[in-house]
């Protein structure tokens, strides 16, 4: 039994933390709120120097040739720091999609740039006003061109390329790869609840694109599940930070002559936050293991990681505000940055309901396999 990260993996997390701490990414997150920058280029470069974007990319394409398992501890630090960087869009989704499903040529064309952070990728799957399902994709891929509109697209304003889910004349939708600076692609920023994770609408009018290998809807679900685990680490990192913010405040803030952290109402609330965080961390670890070992239960494990992490960050962020009282409700306090991130993270890879369905399917399969 070794249900833990290796010393090397932990050291990578520590390195990432030190690098980010030195950069004060919260200040950059505030700059995104003020609309001054779309993301923190300096944090992104700092991550690139540590090899964050290169971890899972094969060495022949300029990467480190490691596993997503080796990225988890750093993902938690990105979450903890609230750094406004395209980690989810570029490193967890686009990079992995190309690595797992792209052709040799596509990998050679894009992965080196993604690995060194100079190219930012993303994905474009949901469309406004319609639930994202295999049968509801309206964006069309016809004769090497995309037609339609996608939103919200994470980091859509700054991304260089996107994995675009599109319908074809065949039955099921496929994944395509589209360079976003090409003609026929229009970008429009949309206001996000969490401007440190900005989103856009992408409109395609005869925009050139190509199929991503033979990736179909099933591939999309796999990509989503793997990214959900890495995002879960970000969520757990952020939830931890929110918990310790609340705890530190509860030790210093006094009410009725005592630190508020000496009241059971606050103590037990924070113990409940801690419990949710630990449950989420355990599920995230298991999701990481499922990715690394190509487990049959990947969808179930990812659903567990995503559901538990969403609940943990949601609760930690809201109770961090509550513990801070009036101060937590102000713009100057960092509390609302976590509150924003909590909802954004809860939705960007699909709402809770979708993942409960995946969990139920996985549990049903597991029960049947036990009984049979």
């Amino acid at each position: 039994m070794n249900f833990d990260f290796s010393d090397e993996q932990k050291a990578f997390g520590e390195q990432t933390r030190r690098m980010l701490d030195a950069l004060d990414p919260i200040a950059d997150a505030r700059s995104t709120l003020a609309g001054q920058i779309p993301y923190s280029a300096k944090a992104w470069r700092g991550l690139a120097r540590l090899g964050f974007q290169a971890v899972t990319i094969p060495s022949e394409h300029g990467g480190l040739g490691l596993s997503p398992l080796d990225l988890c501890t750093a993902a938690a630090e990105v979450g903890r720091s609230l750094a406004p960087v395209p980690s989810l869009s570029s490193a967890y989704v686009c990079s992995e999609a190309i690595r797992l499903f792209g052709s040799e040529a596509q990998q050679a064309r894009w992965l080196p740039g993604i690995a060194d952070g100079s190219i930012i990728g993303t994905w474009a799957a949901p469309e406004r006003g319609v639930e994202l399902m295999q049968t509801t994709v309206r964006t069309q891929f016809l004769k090497d061109s995309l037609w339609g509109a996608k939103a919200p697209v994470l980091d859509g304003v700054v991304a260089d390329l996107a994995i675009v889910l599109a319908a074809t004349d065949r039955a099921a939708p496929i994944l395509t790869l589209c360079e976003l600076n090409a003609t026929g692609v229009h970008r429009r920023e949309l206001e996000s609840l969490d401007p440190s994770r900005p989103v856009a609408e992408l409109t395609f009018e005869a925009a050139r694109a190509e199929p991503l290998g033979t990736a179909d809807w099933r591939a999309w679900e796999t990509i989503q599940a793997r990214a959900a685990v890495l995002l879960a680490f970000e969520q757990v990192g952020a939830a931890d930070r929110a918990l310790w913010m609340a705890r530190d405040y509860a030790l210093t803030r006094k009410s009725f002559g005592r630190p508020i952290g000496s009241y059971q109402a606050v103590k037990h609330k924070l113990a409940a936050v801690y419990a949710k965080n630990e449950v989420a961390r355990a599920h995230a670890y298991y999701g990481a293991w499922a990715i690394a070992s190509d487990a049959d239960t990947l969808q179930l494990a990812a659903a567990g990681a995503r559901l538990a992490a969403t609940e943990a960050l949601s609760f930690a962020a809201q109770e961090n505000i509550q513990t801070h009282g009036g101060v937590g409700f102000t713009w100057e306090s960092d509390c609302h940055l976590f509150y924003r991130r909590a909802r954004h993270a809860a939705l960007i890879l699909g709402p809770t309901s979708v993942w409960k369905q995946r969990a139920l399917t996985g549990l049903t399969e597991q029960l049947e396999s036990t009984l049979s």
Partner: protein, 411 residues
């Protein structure tokens, strides 16, 4: 058991409604409580003052207060009926602008002020000529109103005030305020406070807006640098301010809580009807529908509890202790409702009203206001303590700050 007015109540309601029909206009469904681009403050204040004066002349401005001070000398149930009716009409923001003054400051002066003070301030406030704010909360104080550190030191016939208040609604447009100060730091905290009327235009008063997490500014910080207040502005005895402040606070909690247009089960069900989950209306999917039913159980339950309180008023009795749980029930609900609304929209739920249209403002407000309402006017935790102690008679928390000199209480 019925939900009907008594004949007297019905007559009053008819009178109020008739006056409102003549004095203003019904709110249309298109009207929004929070317009995106409101007119400038000066115009809003002028319109509110004008309407308030008409209300006062018609006897609806302070229904429970004595006639001789500009009120109506009416009952609490009449006050409630009038507010129910006014909610259907354009009221030019009078609740936001005059609510604190007429609801809290004026009763405090009535109960604790001298006859001169009453004569000077009550009528002018009720007519809308003068606007009032409440200066109790301090940065280090939180829910503990008796922890006021803002000091008042006697200097001949006046007092010099130094310190800071926070979370003051309307400080930037108020003419007067009621302020708690520390006048004897060597006495235990509840026995060294004094309350004053404060002229908000006095030298040394500085008002700065507080920016909330929603990027809006509904509250202020107020700083006092050597503000001179005549002793004639004092309310109640020196160092007896705690009992004066308590009489103000008694009026507060009723005023905070869900607003009628908050995101509730109707908004959620409407949204769930208009969006799909797994290809069918989300309202037919129990992942969503059950949470709407659960939300309705509390929302409608709270509404029914209010009806019980109203029944007591209607019988001329005090509302029962069950009223104290209203805010405790409604505050966390709003936040949960906001989360659910976003969940119904799926990935698009992370967009703002700028992308999703004005109707989404209700959801965003619930999301930010919901976090704030769990804190304002008594946190969830304080309210549970109050219910446990006052309703269930459980022992108070152990206090280490009640008997020692205030100056020795840890900050």
């Amino acid at each position: 058991m019925d939900f009907e007015d008594t004949p007297a109540e019905s007559a009053f309601r008819t009178e109020a409604r008739a006056w409102l029909e003549s004095a203003t206009r019904r709110r249309g469904t298109a009207d929004r409580e929070d317009a995106i681009s409101p007119p400038p403050l000066s115009e809003r204040l002028a319109a509110a003052r004008a309407f308030q004066r008409k209300k006062q002349e018609a006897g609806f401005a302070a229904i429970t207060l004595p006639r001789r001070y500009g009120g109506r000398g009416g009952s609490a149930i009449e006050q409630l009926i009038y507010l129910q009716e006014e909610a259907h009409f354009e009221n030019f923001g009078v609740v936001e602008i005059f609510g604190v003054g007429i609801g809290m400051c004026i009763p405090t002066i009535l109960n604790n002020g001298s006859e001169e003070q009453r004569a000077r301030y009550l009528h002018a406030a009720i007519r809308g000529d003068e606007i009032w704010c409440q200066l109790f909360s301090e940065p280090a104080g939180g829910s503990d109103v008796a922890a006021a550190r803002t000091s008042a030191k006697q200097d001949g016939d006046s007092w010099i005030i130094e310190g800071q208040k926070t979370w003051t609604s309307g400080a930037h447009f108020s003419d007067f305020g009621i302020i708690t100060t520390r006048t004897d730091p060597k006495a235990p905290k509840h026995r060294g406070m004094t309350v004053f009327i404060l002229d908000m235009r006095a030298d040394g008063v500085e008002v700065r807006p507080i920016r909330q997490m929603s990027n809006e500014t509904d509250f202020n910080e107020v700083f006092f640098n050597g503000v001179r207040v005549p002793d004639s502005f004092r309310l109640g005895q020196v160092n007896d301010g705690w009992s004066v402040a308590l009489s103000t606070l008694m009026h507060e909690r009723a005023g905070i809580g869900g607003r009628s247009r908050d995101l509730g089960w109707r908004g959620l069900l409407h949204l769930a009807n208009a969006n799909t989950m797994n290809g069918a209306p989300a309202s037919s999917d129990w992942r969503i529908a059950e949470k709407i039913v659960d939300s309705w159980l509390i929302e409608f339950g709270a509404q029914l509890l209010s009806a019980r309180g109203q029944t007591a008023l209607s019988k001329g009795q005090a509302p029962g202790p069950e009223q104290s749980i209203l805010k405790m029930l409604k505050a966390p609900l709003l936040q949960q409702n906001a989360y659910l609304a976003m969940e119904i929209l799926g990935e698009s739920g992370l967009l703002t009203q700028a992308a999703l249209g004005d109707a989404w403002r209700e959801v965003e407000n619930a999301w930010t206001f919901g976090a704030g309402i769990r804190i304002a006017g008594g946190t969830d935790e304080i309210l549970r303590n109050i219910v446990a102690e006052r309703v269930l008679g459980l022992p108070p928390d152990i206090r280490i700050d009640k008997t020692v000199p205030f100056s020795e209480v840890p900050i």
